[in-house]
Amino acid sequence: MTDARKSQAQKISEVELIERAKQGDAEAFEALYHLHKRRVYSLCLRMTANTAAAEDLTQEAFLQLFRKIGTFRGESAFSTWLHRMAVNVVLMQLRKKGLPVVPLEDTIETEEEAPRKELGAPDPSLAGSIDRLQLQRAVEDLPPGYRSIFVLHDVEGYEHNEIAEIVGCSVGNSKSQLHKARLKLRELLKTSRAEKARKP
């Protein structure tokens, strides 16, 4: 079977699973869960940097999805709908904890979290030398507000107007915080590289 046909067959299967799930078919629910669990879990893990929290949020995202599956009309892709739900669940949890979802414009949480101005001799460029694992670790070290925006935009591919709508901020704020998140990552990556270079 060609890739296009496989993809078509998968889509049809998913449509069938959704219809069966709407009728309360337990196997259909389970199949939908297994189809999408990695994506949802990875999103939750990247945004929270905590395994236990990510599992709880994955559970909550799927529960909300399954409760509302009767209202799914197919106007958007099911995965998009699920993904958006997962994002909302994570952001709601961050708000409940009192963590900033997006730092207020031009306000820094703490001096430690703020990207520092570079002084002294410039470091060599990062371009071409960023390790995926290092980047993943650096993302985990970002403050929660920066992490949310960075994950949503650069990792998950949301546009600024979508982020603004989901998070409840302005497009300008979203762009500004993304820039600060990237600056902070740059700093973390350079520090990590410097530490590595110092080791014997």
Partner: protein
């Protein structure tokens, strides 16, 4: 354009740079390095999704399933866990509604047709005396398992597991109905649960006949 001015407008320039900004980049290596680094971070971030191999603990699905069952949003498949092997499927759909009265009928039919074992008294109707049902039920279950042990000892464990599961479904459903007696979904779920129990009994009795 100074470096400060350039950095101030940088967040807005995702799509590209103005001529003035490009001119600054061409002549300023720190700003040029900064832009290159930020672009590299952004590009590499896209590939983090390729590492979506982590899976949540299996307990996540178990918790979801329990919650969905308690909320009456799912019906477990007819064939699992009750259809253990090659017993023919029983058609039980429309004529088992309303399930309360028809479960009584089922037990009556089973007793009349398949006598050798005296099962407990017929179960009361859906909405009343659920504690009586529980008492009668556990006595019935024991008797049923004794019958299965006698005639098909290899299947005893399987039927015991089936009864445990269906009793658990009944308890969950009863709980839901207790919380909201007007919840039609919960009532239907309870009827389904009793229906499934009657099927287990029917299958066990079929198997127990010489």
């Amino acid at each position: 354009m100074t470096c400060e001015e350039f950095e101030r407008v940088l967040p807005e320039n995702e799509g590209g740079h103005t001529i003035e900004q490009k001119s600054h980049l061409n002549s300023c290596s720190p700003c040029s390095d900064l832009v290159a680094d930020l672009n590299a971070i952004s590009e590499q971030a896209r590939f983090l999704r390729d590492t979506d191999t982590d899976e949540p603990n299996p307990r996540v699905w178990n918790s979801i399933r329990i919650a969905l069952r308690q909320e009456g949003l799912i019906r477990e498949p007819e064939s699992a866990p009750f259809l253990v092997h090659s017993q023919p499927r029983r058609r039980r759909l429309v004529w088992l509604i309303p399930a309360g009265a028809l479960i009584l009928l089922m037990f009556g039919v089973v007793q009349y047709k398949r006598a050798p074992v005296q099962l407990a008294a017929q179960k009361p109707v859906l909405s009343s005396a659920t504690s009586e049902i529980a008492d009668a039920s556990s006595l019935d279950d024991q008797q049923l398992l004794e019958v299965v042990s006698k005639h098909a000892p290899a299947m005893r464990a399987s039927y015991a597991a089936n009864l445990r599961d269906v009793n658990s479904y009944i308890r969950d459903a009863e709980e839901s109905v207790k919380i909201d007696p007007n919840d039609e979904q919960a009532q239907k779920y309870l009827m389904d649960a009793y229906e499934q129990k009657s099927i287990v009994y029917e299958m066990a009795m079929d198997r127990s006949l010489p």
